[in-house]
Amino acid sequence: MCGIVGLFLKDTSLEPRLGDMLTDMLITMTDRGPDSAGIAIYGEEAKGCAKLTVQSGTPDADFAGLEVALADHITGSVAMRVKDTHAVLEMQADQIAAARAALATLRPAIRVMSHGETLEIYKEVGLPKNVAERFDLRKMSGTHGIGHTRMATESAVTTMGAHPFNTGVDQCLVHNGSLSNHNSLRRKLRRLGVHIETENDTEVGAAYLTWKMQTGSTLGEALESALDDLDGFFTFVVGTKDGFGVVRDPIACKPAVMAETDQYVAFGSEYRALVNLPGIEDARVWEPEPATVYFWSHNAAPTVTEKAA
């Protein structure tokens, strides 16, 4: 069992409140996943710049002087914001690969949580309320965000086993369920050269989507083929720079509720995650259909096909 929450804002005046609303939703889902929590938030974009969100178990040592050390290895400057065990490193977009390579030597204990122009991923072990406090999630603003509360079933309770997973630039995945063919799929993907770090099933799902998109699929197409290639239970919520998508396996035993108003589209594993959203009483509330890809984007009309993705 896990909890998923997601909020996609149509009304830009709600953007400063995104973190606050998502935090309430996340904490409500504590019963579904008290062992770890995470959030992917799509915030401000700086033209030509990209962000690496990194994590360390020993942040004091690893983050000290990191931006200066890193700037020696790449072109242009590096700005760093530290939030508890995480740090967001901003640099020129074309310097990300060089920065990742440099990080591996400069600070080998550091793990990359996300790479994106607007995306930042924060996740840690602990109660959702405590994780939210550590990263000051309530103060975050943005256009959309996805949160996850984890009750581990398939692998250890660790930071790297927590969700969301970064599946590509500005893309992330959260999962409620359990994949039963993740070992064979992991072996297959590793043979194809895909880097998979842990024994976690969702990381394999994320790596699968990344691999599909790197080999020419759109996100929508990758999600459609996930319905054929992933065996097990899943409700997936995926985030992209422009929007978010939802897909459930054909059996659809993992719960999902959606609500839409003129101001937002919201996702919750349960309705009670949505009850404090503004105007929820008059929202259109429904359950997403099994084996159907839904997508909402700031760049296109709402759709239940892969076309907007």
């Binding site: 659809a252 349960e270 949505l274 009850v275 359950e287």
Partner: protein
């Protein structure tokens, strides 16, 4: 009428209060405010009382109900009216998966749509859905009736026994051993009574009846090699 604020007083207090109502209670009408999708609202009731839930509920609302009428003025989460024995449960909105699962008796009325696995393993309950039902509805249904005024999803009535399914719209697919059956006068009479009980204005003549072909659960000597 008694009003109970679930948010202020909590779930345990609510269910304890409702359980304390005897058969002869004078407090026959209850209103629950601020349900906010909470789980297990009004479960295990066993008194002829009427409970109105003013909003949407979470998992297992009105489970194991006996005698009581539970009316949800909103939508209901998974497992609503699960294992109901008698009484009536009415959902004004939609019901999530496995509504009325394993129900032995009573009536479940869903005025919106029911999700997947509606009436799974039902054992005598009557379920009347004004809208559609999702996939695997009435899986292994043993007895009782399901009325669907809209459409049914995939695998309706898979591996069913002696339950009856009346569907007005389309059936996406029938499950193993479920077939369309003749609508005889006694079925029309039964369906008319169910439609009236469910407050549906549909005509019985618009429905088709489905049920067990009885080839799966009866031993057939030709299948002996399969055992």
């Amino acid at each position: 009428m008694q009003t109970f604020d679930l948010e202020a007083e909590g779930l345990r207090a609510l269910n304890e209060t409702l359980h304390a109502q005897a058969e002869t209670t004078n407090q026959t009408k209850w209103e629950i405010i601020n349900p906010k999708g909470s789980h297990a609202i009004a479960v295990g009731l066993d008194a002829p009382i009427e409970v109105n839930v003013k909003g949407s509920t979470g998992y297992y609302c009105a489970g194991m109900n006996k005698q009581a009428t539970v009316h949800v003025h909103g939508s209901a989460g998974p497992g609503t009216a699960e294992n109901m024995m008698s009484g009536t449960v009415i959902v004004e909105g939609d019901a999530s998966q496995y509504a009325g699962a394993t129900g032995h008796g009573g009536t479940l009325i869903i005025k919106g749509n029911a999700s997947s696995r509606c009436g799974i393993s039902m054992k005598g309950i009557d379920i009347i859905v004004h809208g559609n039902v999702g996939h695997m509805s009435a899986f292994m249904a043993q007895s009782g009736n399901i009325v669907v005024c809209g459409d049914a999803g995939d695998a309706l009535g898979d591996s069913c026994y002696e339950a009856r399914f009346f569907v007005r719209g389309t059936v996406k697919s029938l499950g193993a051993d479920c077939i369309e059956k003749e609508m005889r006068p006694e079925h029309i009479t039964l369906l008319e009574e169910l439609l009236e009980r469910g407050g549906c204005d549909a005509k019985a003549s618009e429905f088709k009846r489905y049920g067990s072909a009885r080839t799966l659960y009866n031993f057939d000597v030709d299948n002996a090699a399969a055992y």
